[in-house]
Symmetry: C2
Subunit: 109 residues, 2 copies
Amino acid sequence: MSAKKKEAHALQKIVDINRVVHEPARLLILSYLYVVESADFLFLLRQTNLTKGNLSSHLMKLEKAGYVNVEKNFVQKIPRTLLSLTKEGRKAFHEYSQRMKKIFKELPG
Amino acid sequence: MSAKKKEAHALQKIVDINRVVHEPARLLILSYLYVVESADFLFLLRQTNLTKGNLSSHLMKLEKAGYVNVEKNFVQKIPRTLLSLTKEGRKAFHEYSQRMKKIFKELPG
DNA sequence: CATACTAGTCTGTAATGCAAACTAGTCTAT
DNA sequence: ATAGACTAGTTTGCATTACAGACTAGTATG
């Protein structure tokens, strides 16, 4: 039961992938935030090539999940939204990344 | 054209992830099919812990994408559905896997 | 003044994932 | 013989999602 059981175990992890992180658009957003620590809406908009509406809704979802901190302020009368990962967001992304690495290491192909 | 433009960051690859493969349930199904080469509906049902309806619809989607071959026959009066990866399915899974490995190698965390 | 730009949010919609209900037939026990 | 349980799936209905375009609100410029 050695090799087969181990394989089955790795694959089973696929089923409880964190879908908040798993969605490509959000994975991209989180990746940027993970690197830069803090970014504004327009930076993410340009980097991700998402539409505003789409980016906005993904950020809202990430905020609701407690992964992203949304901080609104003004820079010389111009509104600015500053995004950053929360501790939970950082943890979730890290765990997702670790899990996926493990899955793909044991996956065929 | 400058060579600078060509430095396609790994993160950019996230945006065109193959969503047919990316969906966890289907990733799981494809993983099993990739290993065993051929499996029946009930085998997949048990291995994946999906509900019948859910498994059925995912298989239909995979079939429609040309990734999975669905072959129905009878084994002593009992209907059986045999699933196997097509060449395209095998290729798609392999490419997805390679791409994800690359992404996660360059990802922080 | 108006036109363009910055910075987003809101709304409508088509697609998706999911499970329960349903279909169709077989096997078993009474 | 027929009720009940099981096999093997498909269909249906629903709630959620992702997405883009329309819209709001304010600023800078000619």
